[in-house]
Symmetry: C2
Subunit: 277 residues, 2 copies
Amino acid sequence: MASPHPFDQALALRHSDLASGHFIGSTHPAYWNMVGPFGGMTAALALQAVLRHPELLGEPVALTVNFAAAVTEGEFEIVAQPARTNRSTQHWTMEIRQRDAEGRMQVNTTATAVTAVRRQTWGENDCPMPEVPAPQAVERFSIGPKGVAWLEQYEMRPVSGAVPRVWDGSGHHSETRIWVRDAVPRTLDFASLAAMSDVFYPRVWLRRATVVPAGTVSITTYFHATGAQLEQVGTGHLLGRATGQQFANGYFDQSAQLWSEDGTLLATSNQIVYYKE
Amino acid sequence: MASPHPFDQALALRHSDLASGHFIGSTHPAYWNMVGPFGGMTAALALQAVLRHPELLGEPVALTVNFAAAVTEGEFEIVAQPARTNRSTQHWTMEIRQRDAEGRMQVNTTATAVTAVRRQTWGENDCPMPEVPAPQAVERFSIGPKGVAWLEQYEMRPVSGAVPRVWDGSGHHSETRIWVRDAVPRTLDFASLAAMSDVFYPRVWLRRATVVPAGTVSITTYFHATGAQLEQVGTGHLLGRATGQQFANGYFDQSAQLWSEDGTLLATSNQIVYYKE
C-alpha cells in the first residue's frame, strides 16, 4: 500500500482519551522550515483539530493563528474547544503546547476559528484574478533558500516578484504573483488551503532586495469556498498574490489572495510579520 | 468637572478582585448599534483589558476579535490572559462573557492580541493614501441609518462610496473612502483606532445597493504606529478606505486601511461579515 501523502502524514493527529478535542501530533521533517515547522503547516494543524472535533458544525470561514513561540521538533498537543455554538455558526479557540526542557507544558501557538453552515446566496468577486500566463507557461522555481524542506513540498511557478537573485538593496515593490500547488498531487481541502495561504516568502526581502531575519507573528485566513468547491479544484494550480502594505518599526503586514485557475477567489489571507535589521 | 469623553465612559473597566486580568464593564448607550453594541467598541474593550493588564509588555501589534454571540445590554466581564511572554513580544487571549437569562455565564466574544516592544527600523508605506480632497472640503454625512447611537459618536465625511441614497440594486463596486474622527474631540490611541477600524457600513449594501441583514463575525486589525505616533495624530481626521474582496455563500470579507491626514498608514484591518438574503 502506498504511504500517505506527506501533508497527510504531517497532519496526522491522534485523539487523546483525556478530553474531547485534545489531540496529539508530531512535527514532520518534510514540512520543516529553517528553525521550526513551516508556519502554514502549524496553521493547518490548528484547523485540523477543529475539523476532527466530534462537535464540529459546518465548514471553516475564518482562521487566526498566532505564533507565540518556536515549535520544537517532536510531539505536541493541540486542544480545540468550541467556545460558542449557535444555530449556523460555531466559534473555536485552539492552543498548541509542548513540554519545555524542564518538562513543563508551554503554549507555543494560540488560535481561533469560525465555522459555519453556509447557504447559497448572491455572490460576487470584487478582487479579480490578475491576468497572468497559464501555469504551464511559467518556469518552476523555488521562491526560498535551498535546503529548506517544506519548499520541496510545493510546486511553485513565480509569475512575478520571485525571490531576488541579487541582494543589492534594489527592491522597489513587495508584490509576488505565483502559481502554487502540492508537489505531490493532493486534492485541495481546507487544511491545505490554510497552509498555502502562508507560502509567500517575507515581503521585506523583496521590498529591499535584502535578507533580514523575519518571522510571521499572526496570520488570519478567510475561506470563501465550500469543501465541495475545493474538491472540484482538485490538484489544479492556485494563483497566489501577496503584497506588503506597511513596513514600520519591526513589523510589516502582508495581504494575500488565492484564486483557483478559473479565477474563483478561494481565500484571502493577512499576516503580520516581525523583521529585524 | 467635565464628564469623561463618551468613548472613555464606554471603555471604563473595573479590575475585579478575583484574578489578575479579570475586568467588569458595562455596555454604554452612546455606542449602541441596532441590536447590540457597536462592534468596534467591543473590539476596543477586548484590547483595553490587555492595555490595563498589570503584566502588559509593549504596545499592540495585532488584534483579532470574534463576535461569537450578541452582547446584551448591561454588565459584562472580560478576562485577558498572557498566554506567552517572550523577550519583546507577548501573546494574549481574551474572552467577554455575560450571564444569560438563566444566570449562566456565557462567552459572547473571543479574542487574541499580540503586543510588542517596537524598535525603530527601516520602514516604507507600500499602500499610499489615495488622493482625496481635504476633510474640510468634504460634506459631513452619516454613513448609516438614522437613529443609530454609535454613528453620532463619529464625525464622518465620505469622499466616495457613501451609503446609497437609493436602494435600487444598482451597485457596482464595494469601496468607501471616508474621513473620520471622534465627533467629540479625543486624542487618538490604540483603543480608538481599534474601534475606528470597524466604522464602515456593510460592503454588501454598497455592492448591491440593497439592504440585507449583515453582521461582522471576526475582525483582525494590525497596528503600524506607536502610541507616541497616535498621540501626535491627536484629534486629526483619519482617512479610512474599505473594500470587499469576495462575497460568497453568506459571507464577505472587507479589507480596510486607516491613514493619518499626513498619509501615514496607521492600521490595516480585515473582517469577515455574515450576510443574509
